[in-house]
């Protein structure tokens, strides 16, 4: 059985999915990649927008929404990796 993800792991998975798509992703792809329910993702995206780790834009022609990773989001990913490496080194 896999371990249950905590809030930070979920945030990492969301931001990492965006980073893997060169910093911009469609909401439907993000929903699939981050392995969350629709409501769950909506809630997390709301929080990430408030904390300015992601931003949202709408294509003028197609009207499709895109989610973008901000500098703060990139910084979070960097810090998270260090924290993860440290805690895994001690098995915490």
């Amino acid at each position: 059985m896999t371990e249950r993800r905590n809030k930070l792991d979920i945030i990492f998975d969301i931001l990492n999915s965006i980073q893997n798509k060169r910093g911009s992703i469609k909401p439907t792809h993000l929903l699939y990649k981050s392995n969350l329910s629709h409501d769950g993702m909506k809630r997390y995206l709301g929080e990430l927008k408030v904390s300015e780790m992601v931003s949202e834009s709408e294509d003028a022609k197609s009207g499709k929404k895109m989610i973008h990773l901000t500098d703060k989001g990139y910084k979070f990913l960097e810090e998270y990796s260090k924290v993860k490496n440290f805690t895994e080194s001690f098995g915490l």
Partner: protein, 223 residues
């Protein structure tokens, strides 16, 4: 001199204090990063992990300060030999308390012990056994050997599971720190082992520092 009898050969005096300051610096570095982890995750276990390394750092600073006061002759002509003995004893007891509580916290966090009564019992038994008895030096190093041995074992399990270089460095570091305690225990019989014990500790803390540098450089690749 009181301390000289358990502090190894004469030529090593001062070196041990310098080593202890280095150990304090390494444990303080871990303390700072661990506090950053606590700040980032807001998880209570990292608060105790931070406290554990902070106590170790304070322990090393205390014993180093105490030894330096004697080596530099600060007490000479100021207080009596008996007061010097009592002063050194008080510092050594403070060092013991800091270190043992620090190790215990590390055991509690790394083994994920949740039962508060069990934790209180363990801590009480260890402190009573060491502090309210004679031969602090021997008993402190005996208990340290046991605690560090179990911590090393726990980190070995983690290394086996993760197969990660950093986890290996942490395990190797605590293995050496535990091994150093055996040489400390032999010090009353052969004082050159005091130097060997410090050498092993220096390598152990060096490995811990290299792990931290690798983490900060974001270089924790799998083997």
């Amino acid at each position: 001199m009181f301390i000289a009898s358990i502090n190894g050969p004469q030529w090593f005096q001062m070196f041990d204090s310098v080593f202890q300051i280095l150990f304090a610096l390494v444990t303080l570095s871990i303390t700072f990063f661990s506090y950053k982890v606590f700040h980032f995750t807001k998880e209570r276990k990292f608060k105790y992990f931070t406290l554990s390394f902070l106590l170790m750092a304070l322990g090393y600073l205390t014993v180093s300060f105490s030894n330096l006061l004697i080596y530099l002759g600060v007490y000479d002509g100021v207080i009596s030999r008996l007061s010097e003995f009592n002063m050194a004893n008080s510092f050594f007891l403070t060092f013991i308390l800091f270190m043992l509580v620090g190790y215990m916290l590390l055991i509690i966090i790394s083994m994920n012990l949740k039962n508060k009564r069990l934790v209180a019992l363990l801590l009480s038994v260890i402190l009573l056994f060491v502090v309210f008895s004679y031969q602090y030096f021997i008993k402190f190093h005996m208990i340290s050997l046991l605690l560090l041995g179990f911590i090393a074992l726990q980190f070995y399990d983690n290394y086996k599971q993760k197969r990660n270089i950093n986890a290996g460095l942490v395990f190797a570091s605590f293995y050496l720190l535990a091994f150093a305690e055996i040489f400390f225990l032999a010090t009353p019989y052969m004082n050159s082992t005091y130097v060997l014990a410090h050498g092993l500790q220096l390598v152990g803390f060096g490995l811990l520092l290299s792990m931290l540098i690798k983490v900060l450089k974001h270089d924790g690749k799998k083997e």
